[in-house]
Structure formats: structure tokens, C-alpha cells
């Protein structure tokens, strides 16, 4: 068991380091910080400040993160119902950015500079080095075969190729055909907008005539459940919550049971934000997924919520989460900012997980179905 060896080594070595008075001269810090530092540290030790934290804190962070981007305005929620199209919504953000693609489209011939610019544009959209290289290689071949000769044609071919890669996925949100309630589970790292997304979906589903129950599986902090409760109230959905710090699996199981008893169609299950490299929390999530399926309900969707500002780490997130809970789709939030969310191309390409919904604003009607063509257009806007 190598882990034992590692532990033994670290303990001993570290103990030795400290014990030998391997103590850095204090004045290293002295210039940076007031001298009171040291005394305070000692004081702190006497009354250990560490006790506070973990649970409440994490919760709080999650709470902060989730809640922050939901200015839960009634106004916005009530506003009906015409679904905005990508472009209308994106207009604002994109107008602010100079169209890098404009200059490419204007080129009358394809030279090294054109390729460089194209590469830059793709990387700046968070498409990633790997996917970018692949796309450009593909394009280079096309230039020869199809005899593309100017920037406009090149750009057209690129968009077509990207849209092609994004097509052929089933983006429907599935409902169970069994008698029990359908369960949709929402997962993701901290601060991406899981609770908000559930709120918006709830509003939409209720509008479409389904009965909905929201289960506050984020038991980590007080505000998460309250926030979801507010959305439930607004959407006209039922709401189930557990004790703070309770077992999220249990809360969601209860939610499903309650939904079953009241013959509710759809359970939207929230979970606490967690970093995908935290093994224990990911195991907890696997359990939530298993338990959600145990009762009368059927889990038909496990949706990873990703923030459009996320860079290359998004792919790692998707990988880890799908290993833990078998994702059925992605919700890409905050696409109304200046970030373009290009990482979802790699997620489609490498993991075959489709983006199903896109968040383009704060209102419930701003959560729209993904459209490959418009997404690609927006990427280059």
C-alpha cells in the first residue's frame, strides 16, 4: 500500500523540517506586514480559529456563488414567453467586441496570417488548443480539395464544420414513460448557476403544463434551500427540503417519494456545488444519483451546469462528472456575458455530451434550447 509509505514519509519529513527549527527568518515577512502579525498568530492558536468553518463556509460560498447571479426579480420571471433567439440576446454582448472574424472574412486570399488570425479567434473563444488544431487541419485539407480561395469561403467552411460537429445529438429533455415521476438531477462546480437553472426550468415546465417538485439537495448551506424555495414559489412548484448538513441523497429520495405520492410529473433535484477533483464529494454525488433512481422515480436527465466563462478546465469537469454520474447533457450558463463558451465544442467532440440548454440572461425565458448554428455564429460574432 504505497499510500502508507507516502503518509509515513510526509509526516516524518515534515516533522523533521519543523522540528529542526527549519524556520524561516521572520523578517522575510516583516517588511510586508505589520509586526503585530506574529503575536496575533500565537493568539489565534490559543483560541483556535479553525473550529469555525468547513461546512458552513462551503455552504456559504456555494450560496454566494449560486445566489449571486440570480437577481430573482419577479418582473423578469413574469415577463412572458416569446423565447428569445440566440442572436437577439447576444447582440448586446457581442456588439461590444470587435468582430475578429470580420477581418478574416474580408481577406481576398488565404495566407499564413489568415490562419494565425483564425487560430487566435478560436483560442480566444476557449475552443482549446487541441480542438483548434484539429479544426484548422481539417480546414487546410478542405482548402485544397474544395479550392477555397478567400477569407469568406474559409470562414464559411469553418462554421459548417463546427456546426457539423455539434449536430447529430439528441437535445430533448426526456420524460420518463413509467408511471412514477421523472427526475432531473443538476450537478456542477461551485458558482455556475445550478439553483438558478432549476428555477428557470421549473418555471418553464410549469408553464408547459407539468406539475413540478423541486428538491433542495444542496443541504450544505441555509441559503441554498431558501433560494430554491423562492423559485419554487414563483414557479408554482412543490418544494421539499431537508435539514442543513443532512444527507442530500435522503432529501432527494424524499422529494421523489413525495412527488410520487402527489402524482407530480417532474422532480428537479438540486445538488451542492463541488469541485470535480474532490473525490469524497464526487462519491457522495454518485450516491445521490443511485438513490434518486431507487424509489418510484426514474432519473432521465443528469445535467452538468457549466459557466460560459470556464476555460479548458470545463472539459476536465465534464469528464469527472460523467464518470461519477453519467451526464446526459450540459447546461451552458452566463452566455450573455463576453465569454463564448467554446469549451463545449470539446465536450461534444471528446465526450459526446450535448449541450441541451443555454442561459442567456436572468429571466426564466432566457434559458433557451441549444442551437448549433446560432451558437457557432455567436462564437464568431
Amino acid at each position: 500500500m504505497t499510500v502508507i509509505l507516502i503518509i509515513v514519509a510526509v509526516v516524518i519529513v515534515l516533522g523533521l523540517i519543523v522540528g529542526l527549527g527549519f524556520i524561516a527568518p521572520r523578517n522575510r515577512r516583516g517588511s510586508l506586514e505589520p509586526p503585530s502579525k506574529r503575536r496575533t498568530l500565537v493568539d489565534d492558536r490559543v483560541v483556535p480559529p479553525e473550529e469555525v468553518e468547513r461546512a458552513a463556509l462551503v455552504e456559504a460560498e456555494v450560496a454566494a456563488d449560486l445566489a449571486t447571479h440570480v437577481p430573482v426579480d419577479d418582473v423578469v420571471v413574469e415577463e412572458v414567453a416569446e423565447r428569445p433567439r440566440f442572436r437577439d440576446r447576444l447582440g448586446k454582448a457581442r456588439a461590444a467586441l470587435s468582430g475578429a472574424m470580420g477581418s478574416i472574412a474580408g481577406r481576398s486570399k488565404i495566407d499564413a496570417e489568415t490562419w494565425d488570425e483564425l487560430e487566435e479567434a478560436l483560442i480566444l473563444a476557449d475552443v482549446g488548443v487541441g480542438s483548434t488544431q484539429e479544426l484548422l487541419d481539417h480546414l487546410r485539407a478542405r482548402v485544397k480539395v474544395d479550392g477555397l480561395s478567400n477569407g469568406e469561403e474559409l470562414l464559411g467552411a469553418l462554421k459548417a464544420e463546427m456546426a457539423n460537429r455539434l449536430s447529430g445529438f439528441d437535445r430533448e429533455l426526456k420524460l420518463s414513460s413509467d408511471s412514477g415521476p421523472t427526475v432531473w438531477l443538476f450537478v456542477g462546480v461551485n458558482g455556475v448557476g445550478k439553483t438558478t437553472t432549476i428555477g428557470k426550468i421549473g418555471v418553464r415546465q410549469v408553464r408547459e403544463g407539468r406539475t413540478v417538485l423541486m428538491a433542495a439537495g444542496d443541504t450544505f448551506r441555509a441559503a441554498a434551500a431558501e433560494q430554491l424555495g423562492m423559485w419554487a414559489e414563483r414557479a408554482g412548484a412543490e418544494f421539499v427540503r431537508g435539514n442543513e448538513g443532512g444527507d442530500p441523497s435522503a432529501v432527494i429520495f424524499d422529494g421523489v417519494e413525495a412527488a410520487s405520492a402527489r402524482t407530480i410529473d417532474l422532480v428537479l433535484a438540486d445538488t451542492a456545488g463541488r469541485l470535480h477533483n474532490n473525490v469524497n464529494l464526487m462519491e457522495e454525488l454518485s450516491k445521490v444519483r443511485r438513490v434518486a433512481d431507487k424509489g418510484d422515480g426514474t432519473v432521465t436527465e443528469v445535467l452538468l451546469v457549466i459557466d460560459a466563462t470556464t476555460g479548458q478546465n470545463g472539459l476536465v469537469q465534464a469528464k469527472q462528472f460523467t464518470e461519477a454520474v453519467e451526464l446526459t447533457g450540459v447546461v451552458l450558463t452566463k452566455l450573455d456575458g463576453s465569454a463564448k463558451g467554446g469549451i463545449v465544442i470539446a465536450i461534444h467532440d471528446q465526450l459526446g455530451i450535448p449541450v441541451k440548454l443555454v442561459g442567456l440572461g436572468e429571466g426564466a425565458e432566457d434559458l433557451v434550447s441549444f442551437d448549433a448554428h446560432e451558437f457557432v455564429e455567436a462564437l464568431f460574432a
Binding site: I4, L14, I17, G19, L57, T68
Partner: protein, 500 residues
């Protein structure tokens, strides 16, 4: 985080290190790899371009140093540039001569403003200040409540009122003066940089309180857009620095490099975990060392100093070198180690840990298991593990819920380790006091390839991948020099962990 970036750098630069002469082609090849590594780490495209151009200029240019061979020189150049790009020096927080000192927190939704306001308050408190938290995020009902909860945990008062954010900020200053709080931290609502109305609001807040420090809170997982966000906020607010959050994830943190470069403002603080104390000043030079795979001993030592009971640790170390280290001591040490957070974090800061070990998923419950095994031993067994025969092994395994084999393994490895330590202790305590003094001195100017001082990388051809100061000060007792700590192999080529 940063680990994968450092892996890449290590392999690129490793190829160069041995070379006596660098051709332009070598440099270009290395730069290609570096560029790729940086882009994959989400460093902004333009920043990467400039970074590589600068390195190329210097590498191909005249810089000749007699002490270093060209390969090492390349490592030094990359280290210098990395340090410069990351922001050179640690930010120095000064306090307004007319209190309160005002800090304004701004950022996108979900970046972690509220939590980090509290973390910052805790930090100020640890500096002997008296912070006041201000909840100016009135956009969502829970925000202020959350801040209050956090405030209770760190025993810092929270001010808010149900007016508008600008008014709240203004009243907070009055409140602070009235109650004698000397630092005011204003938490604002999250906003998109392109939302003109909200950006205007935050500017008005800023005008109302005239902050001494304006920090932008950025998520370490942010991609290329980090730069746009930082630029937009900087244009509105004139930032003083950035607080980088969620560094405990595995994002490679390119945002850290980009923001400083583009906005010209340093990363001031980083938040590296879920607990309120997982937050500290950012040390660019140390991070550069870490990215280059040279460990971050300074931070490690600082962290250790905070949690270790010094006397106890000293006594234990003495016993260790005398060969009197028992499992009881080991248990004590392990308790201290646990306070330093997840093992993987500690490993990440140690230099010279092979990446197979660093990347291995270490379940921290393993520590608990080891602990359980030792706690299942009688005091006599802890002092003299040789007592433990098969029957006792089975008993201990049952008591700790493990396998007899694991008990045996632990004892075996513990023994081997202490044997090595004893040998290392050599002549015993007489030397210890002396060497201890020397160690302390050596820290300032030890010749052993200080891993963190800017530009002092691996001099004299020594691989930087060891515990340098040990080497310099203790190792002298043994012919052949370097004290290779068992379990901390001298370089990536050795693999005592059998993971390779």
C-alpha cells in the same frame, strides 16, 4: 492546480538543461511547447504571444552567464519571466492614516465575492485589525444573510441596511468610524462587465466610499475571458489587485498569469480551499517556482509553522535523529500534519516529489486508517513495535478495521524510515543544536539551489529537486554529500514508491 503546467514545463526544460549549447532551433522547439502548455492552461492568447517573444529575445540575445550553462540559463530566463508576468512582488497592504481603510470587492456572478470578503476580513483580523464587513449586495436577499453568517463565524461585525447599495456603503463608513472599526470591506453584487447599468452602480459605490483597495474576484477556472472581465472592471473601477478563487480545483490557473499582464495589477490574494483560513497573500515568486516544478518550500514552512507545536516538533525531531522516535511521536506528528489540510496539497508544495506520487489520488481517509492502526496498539507496542507478533497483528487489525498485512506494512515502513533517520542523525544531538543554527542561517543564503528566490535556480548544476537546505547543512556529515530523504527521492528518475 498548476501541477499539469509544471509537468509540461519540467519536461520541456528538462530537455534543455543538459545541453552545453543552445541553438536557435532548440529555443524555438522549447518555446513551441511552452506556448502550448500556457494556452492549455488558459493563459490569454496575447499574453502567451508576448511572453514567448520576450523569452526568445532574451534566450537568443546576448545574456551570457559564466555560472550557468545555456540550458540552465533558459530555465532561469523562463523563471524570471514567469515571476515578472505573475506580478513580481507580493502586494504590500498599507493602511490609511485616517481609518477606516476601505476595501471594495467586485466581480462576476459566482466568482466567490461574499465568501472571500469574509476570508479577507479574517485575514485583516489576523493582522491585528478590526474589520467591518459591509453587505452591499442587495440584489439577492440571501447575500446579506450569508455575509452575516460568515461574519458570526469569524467574529466580525456585519453592516447592512435595506436602502440601496450606494447608501449602504456610505452609511457603513459612518458606522465604522462610530464603532472604531479600522478596515471596511464592501461586498458588492455580482455583475457582468458588459452590463452598463450595474457597472455604473458599482462605480457610484466606489465614488461614495473612495476605497483604498479595489479587488476584483476571479475564478481560477476562467478561460480566455478573464482578461476582458479584468479590463472592463479596471476601466470602471481602477483595480488595485485581484483575488483568485477556487484554486483548490485542478484548473491550471492561466487567468492568474493573464490578468497581471494585461491590467498591470497583481494577484493580491488567493483562495485555496473551502475553509475560511484557506486564504493568503499571493507570492508570485513562489508560484513561479511551483510552476517550474521546484516546490514551494517557503509556503510549506509557513503553513507548518502555523499549525505545528514548535516545542513538540523539535523534541520529536531530536528523538527522530537519535533513533528514539516511537509510533506515539509519529501519531502526534500526524495530528499536526492533518491540520495542514489535504495531503495532496502538502505534497504539491514539497520539492522533488515525483509526479506519479503527486498525481496519485490520495484519499485522506488513509491517514485516518493509519491513525486507527496506531491507536489500536497498546502503549507498549507503540514504543517497541518489535513486540508485535502475528497474534497481536491480528488483534490490531481487528481493532482498527484493517488487514493484518497493512498493520505489518505500516510497522515495516515506519521502522525503515526511522532507521534511515537515525543514520542521518549521525553523531546525535551534539550536532543538532549547531546544525539547527546553521539551518536557520543557511536559509537566507544557502547554496543549495533555493527553490524560490527569483533567479536563483539550480546553481552549480544541482538538480533543484531535493530538499536543498538539508543538503547544505546536514548532509555534510556524510561523504557523498546530499542527504536524500527517503521517500523524497532525489529526482524524478528514482521511484521508490513503485508507482512509475
Amino acid at each position: 492546480m498548476f501541477e499539469s503546467l509544471s509537468d509540461r514545463f519540467e519536461s520541456v526544460l528538462g530537455k534543455l538543461k543538459g545541453k552545453g549549447k543552445l541553438s536557435e532551433a532548440d529555443v524555438d522547439e522549447a518555446l513551441r511547447e511552452i506556448r502550448l502548455a500556457l494556452l492549455e492552461a488558459d493563459v490569454n492568447f496575447t499574453v502567451v504571444k508576448n511572453f514567448c517573444a520576450r523569452i526568445r529575445d532574451r534566450a537568443v540575445g546576448e545574456e551570457v552567464s559564466k555560472a550557468l550553462n545555456p540550458g540552465q540559463q533558459m530555465v532561469k530566463i523562463v523563471n524570471d519571466e514567469l515571476t515578472a508576468t505573475l506580478g513580481g512582488e507580493t502586494i504590500r497592504i498599507t493602511y490609511n492614516s485616517k481609518p477606516p481603510t476601505v476595501v471594495l470587492m467586485a466581480g462576476l456572478q459566482g466568482s466567490g465575492k461574499t465568501t472571500n470578503s469574509a476570508k479577507l476580513a479574517r485575514w485583516f483580523k489576523s493582522q491585528g485589525r478590526h474589520p467591518l464587513l459591509v453587505g452591499a449586495d442587495l440584489q439577492r436577499p440571501a447575500a446579506v444573510e450569508q455575509l452575516r453568517t460568515l461574519g458570526r463565524q469569524i467574529e466580525v461585525p456585519v453592516f447592512s441596511e435595506d436602502t440601496d447599495p450606494v447608501q449602504v456603503a456610505k452609511s457603513a463608513l459612518t458606522e465604522a468610524r462610530k464603532t472604531g472599526r479600522d478596515v471596511v470591506i464592501v461586498d458588492t453584487a455580482g455583475r457582468l462587465a458588459i452590463d452598463a447599468d450595474l457597472m455604473d452602480e458599482v462605480r457610484r459605490i466606489s465614488e461614495a466610499v473612495d476605497p483604498d483597495y479595489t479587488f476584483l474576484v476571479i475564478d481560477a477556472m476562467t478561460g480566455q475571458d478573464a482578461v476582458n472581465t479584468a479590463e472592463a472592471f479596471h476601466a470602471t473601477l481602477e483595480l488595485d489587485g485581484v483575488i483568485l478563487t477556487k484554486l483548490d480545483g485542478d484548473a491550471r490557473g492561466g487567468a492568474a498569469l493573464s490578468v497581471k499582464e494585461v491590467v498591470g495589477r497583481p494577484i493580491a490574494f488567493t483562495s485555496t480551499g473551502e475553509k475560511l483560513r484557506d486564504f493568503d497573500l499571493f507570492h508570485p515568486d513562489r508560484l513561479a517556482g511551483r510552476i517550474l516544478g521546484m516546490g514551494d518550500m517557503l509556503t510549506l514552512i509557513e503553513k507548518a509553522e502555523e499549525v505545528y507545536e514548535k516545542d513538540q516538533a523539535e523534541a520529536a525531531a531530536t528523538r527522530l535523529l537519535e533513533g528514539e522516535f516511537t509510533l506515539e511521536d509519529f501519531l502526534d506528528q500526524m495530528q499536526q500534519l492533518k491540520k495542514m489540510g489535504p495531503l495532496s496539497g502538502v505534497l504539491g508544495m514539497m520539492p522533488g516529489i515525483p509526479k506519479e506520487v503527486k498525481n496519485a489520488q490520495i484519499d485522506d481517509r488513509e491517514i485516518a486508517r493509519v491513525e486507527a492502526i496506531i491507536r489500536s496498539m497498546t502503549p507498549a507496542e507503540r514504543v517497541d513495535p518489535d513486540l508485535i507478533d502475528q497474534s497481536r497483528r491480528v488483534r490490531i487489525a481487528t481493532g482498527s478495521g484493517t488487514e493484518p498485512a497493512r498493520v505489518g506494512e505500516l510497522i515495516k515502513q515506519f521502522k525503515e524510515m526511522s532507521k534511515m533517520m537515525k543514520r542521518m542523525g549521525g553523531a546525535g544531538t551534539k550536532r543538532l543544536t549547531k546544525s539547527r543554527r546553521k539551518v536557520a542561517k543557511g536559509k537566507a543564503k544557502g547554496p543549495g539551489g533555493r527553490s524560490t528566490g527569483a533567479g536563483r535556480v539550480a546553481p552549480k548544476g544541482k538538480a533543484p529537486l531535493r530538499l536543498p537546505d538539508f543538503e547544505a547543512d546536514l548532509g555534510g556529515s556524510k561523504p557523498g554529500g546530499g542527504l536524500r530523504l527517503p521517500g523524497l527521492p532525489g529526482g524524478p528518475e528514482s521511484d521508490p514508491f513503485g508507482l512509475g
